[in-house]
Amino acid sequence: MLEVKGILNGVVLDHIKAGKALEVYHMLQLDKIDASVVLLMNVDSKELGKKDIIKIENRVDFNFNILSLIDTQITVNIIKDDKRVQKFKVEVPEEIIGQITCKNPRCITNFDDYVNPTFHKYAENDKVLEYVCEFCEEITKFKK
């Protein structure tokens, strides 16, 4: 069995739906940070059957709630001095600023660098999350 050692300080993102780790990696822009990152995919899980895990060393300053657009079941574990000091589920944000782009090809946010794309939560049910663009009012859906 594949073994990956734990981290002394940092974040462990657990219970990521199997196959979604790369999306999480890109959403948090982990390719742009100077830290060690481990992606574990298709790991056996009693709860989920299979799951993905991401470990990020020495960094905890992320907007974790944005991950609810990918998977609302993700658990965040904050590790300090080899101990878990905090554990929580990601929460669906009321507002998203600058982290996703508007799908409307005519929206000003896709053309003017000055503007920060801003979205407000419009609706939520068991299957989808919907956000409305503050500028063009286009609704973007995210499957849960």
Partner: protein
Amino acid sequence: MNHPSLRHLIEPEDFTIDEIEKLVTLGEDMYKNPSKYSEICKGKILASLFYEPSTRTKFSFDSAMLRLGGNLVGFADANTSSAKKGESIADTIRVMGYYADIIVMRHPKEGAPKLASMYSEVPVINAGDGGHQHPTQTLTDLLTIQVYKGKLEGHTVAFCGDLKYGRTVHSLIRTMARFKAKKFILISPEELELPSSLKRQLQDQYDIEIQEARYIEEVVEQIDILYMTRIQKERFFNEEDYLKLKNSYILTNSKLENAKEDMIIMHPLPRVNEISYEVDSNQRAVYFEQSKLGVYVRMALISKLLEVGPYVRG
């Protein structure tokens, strides 16, 4: 960012129902007694920033400001502005605020006037942004309805043609919903139906019956206000789709045989061929008067946002 108390008109919801009613009333008075208002904007300057071509809206704003005694600066083609050099909207607006007291903006990108309003030190009026909103056309439409139907509430309003990209439709339908319309009838080909998100917003927020139809004749006898729209070439990504749909919905006198005598036919203009010329002499056609009324309601809007004239005095 600008100070929060500054008022703009980016979408009809920026004004309360009461404010809209007052504007329409003031517009009606300006239409009937224009000389009373001919100097209330003396010394004020309106900047019109038209990043997209326009005839009616641009000239009706120009005419409105001149009839109020004010002056004009601006451009009617983005190629003659710094936008061509890649200047951001925020920078353009900040500077224009030093040159003018009020800004009117049309832009092909949706949300551009909203962005402008966030950085402006003077009031910004959205004169149309892509397929999104056209609130001053809505005010024009409301004044027309007030003048010809005597009230804004309780009508069965049919929208016909391009309901997908038609920004005039999007602005008006939301506002008529706020004025407790009796019923909306949506007449369009499948490809140009009202966006489902907007349809849902209307159903979620207002208890108004919505009926969908493919042809005018199916529903004409129910209609109080028939709002025709142009199938707009500039909203299509390819020529083939445009050619396929542009002749879909043409209004003729024969299609109006069963219409109510006091039904009115409106159109934001310009038309291409969606209303036959024979309909122009039909007593129900009010679309040219509608264009005329646009000047007066824009005069009322300018006076409100500049806080000059009787609006301020109440």
